[in-house]
């Protein structure tokens, strides 16, 4: 026999090794037994235990018991609770995988629900907002709501109106420029919270040429900047500020005529 040296823990486990192989369901015990099987001492122990167990099984059962309890009467096994199943590595791994897939699915669904026509332009303009300085705009001090006429009169921009929710805010400056796609974009700087407004053409269907409409306000966030976007008659309005969508929520929750 090989001179395999078992560790202290392995020896401890081997001394408790169940006699029947099918009772060995502990990983550490199985590993210890795998090593111990190469030793003579374990073979002697196994033979000893097997003989003693056989002696126990030969204990006669009194007739008084066998008369009313058949030999194949079993104690029902305990019903496995869900916690027991949850501890099974296979169930655990499957559960985690399903959970991850569900989370990714929910994220994608939420993202999809938040998408709206013109989102790409809105995100690009959010980047523009983050790099714009007030001095880059022409100074215009008035109510934001009054700039619709100004933009129409000076730049021929039809329906470039600031929605009622933001119409009362005081402006600091304004400019009109062509974006990367050659679309006319109006940019307005307001006093309150250094907000910036953008008015730009709504995304159009390439086949029909009609503006893709969407209802209500949609929010976007990007690199510490937030924006809320609304489409009306083919023109999108976006209010932006440095912060989160929560900072803009009070404005869009106002009901104004």
């Amino acid at each position: 026999m090989s001179a395999i040296q078992l560790s202290r823990k392995e020896k401890m486990l081997v001394h408790c090794a169940p006699i029947r192989e099918e009772r060995v369901d502990d990983r550490a015990l199985r590993t210890a037994l795998h090593r111990a099987r190469k030793t003579e001492a374990f073979a002697v122990q196994q033979n000893f235990d097997t003989a003693a167990a056989a002696l126990v099984q030969s204990i006669p059962i009194p007739e008084e018991i066998t008369d009313w309890i058949p030999p194949d009467t079993f104690i029902a096994p305990r019903r496995r609770r869900w916690q027991k199943y949850a501890q099974n590595p296979a169930f655990l791994a499957t559960g985690i995988a399903v959970l991850v897939i569900a989370i990714v699915g929910i994220f994608q669904l939420v993202e999809r629900m938040n998408r709206f026509p013109g989102e790409t332009t809105a995100r690009r303009l959010l980047t523009t907002a983050s790099s714009t300085h007030a001095m880059m705009l022409d100074p215009v001090k008035t109510d934001a709501g009054a700039l619709g006429d100004f933009l129409f009169m000076k730049h021929r921009l039809v329906r470039y109106d600031v929605p009622p929710e933001f119409a009362e805010l005081k402006t600091l400056g304004c400019r009109v420029f062509d974006d990367e796609e050659g679309q006319r974009v109006a940019q307005i700087w307001v006093v309150e919270k250094k907000m910036q407004f953008f008015l730009f053409p709504a995304e159009r269907d390439p086949k029909t040429g009609k503006a893709r409409e969407f209802s209500g306000w949609r929010s976007i966030e990007q690199e510490h900047w937030a924006g809320v976007v609304k489409e009306d008659k083919g023109v999108c309005f976006m209010a932006t500020l440095r912060g989160s969508a929560k900072d803009l929520a009070p404005y869009i929750s106002k009901k104004k005529e």
């Binding site: 401890m12 486990l13 009772r23 369901d25 003989a51 099984q57 204990i59 018991i65």
Partner: protein, 159 residues
């Protein structure tokens, strides 16, 4: 591993190993079944199969308290011998039960449950309420002590 069904008659064998007295073992066995039946009638049937053996253990210890108590003395220990199986084969189950029931607690329970060959390692620890090193030492010492007893009782005959 799925939990196995437990043969009810093994419960009697456990009681017998603990008490080494068929009448007393039968009494404890019946008492446990009565209690289980009463619980089942009250919709509280024991859900844990180990409940029967835990219950049997304490009932046997209680019954054993009335008799002579095993002293916790250092018994002679011998190395397990190759010829031990042939020595054990010559024994009567009653002799083995007398030897086990004479062991001090918790070694008595540990040996009785272990040689019943019905439990895995975790279940043994659970019913005996022992820590792994304690169970290991009790079983290891038990084997050696039993070997010493075998050597004293049934000396090896030279072939």
């Amino acid at each position: 591993m799925a939990e196995e069904k437990q043969n009810l008659l093994q419960l009697y064998r456990f009681c017998f190993l603990m008490l080494a007295d068929a009448a007393e073992a039968q009494e404890v066995f019946h008492a446990i079944l009565r209690e289980a039946a009463q619980l089942a009638a009250g919709s509280e049937a024991p859900r844990d199969r180990l409940w029967f053996f835990r219950n049997a253990r304490w009932r046997c210890l209680e019954a054993g308290e009335q008799g002579l108590q095993a002293e916790d003395v250092d018994l002679r220990q011998d190395e397990l011998a190759d010829w031990a199986p042939s020595q054990i084969e010559k024994l009567d189950p009653q002799q083995f039960a007398i030897w086990i029931s004479g062991a001090p607690e918790p070694q008595r329970t540990a040996l009785a449950l272990f040689y019943l060959d019905e439990f895995n390692y975790r279940e043994l620890l659970s019913v005996t309420e022992l820590k792994p090193p304690e169970l290991s030492k009790l079983l290891c010492d038990g084997r050696r002590q039993f070997q010493a007893w075998l050597d004293a009782t049934l000396p090896r005959t030279e072939k």
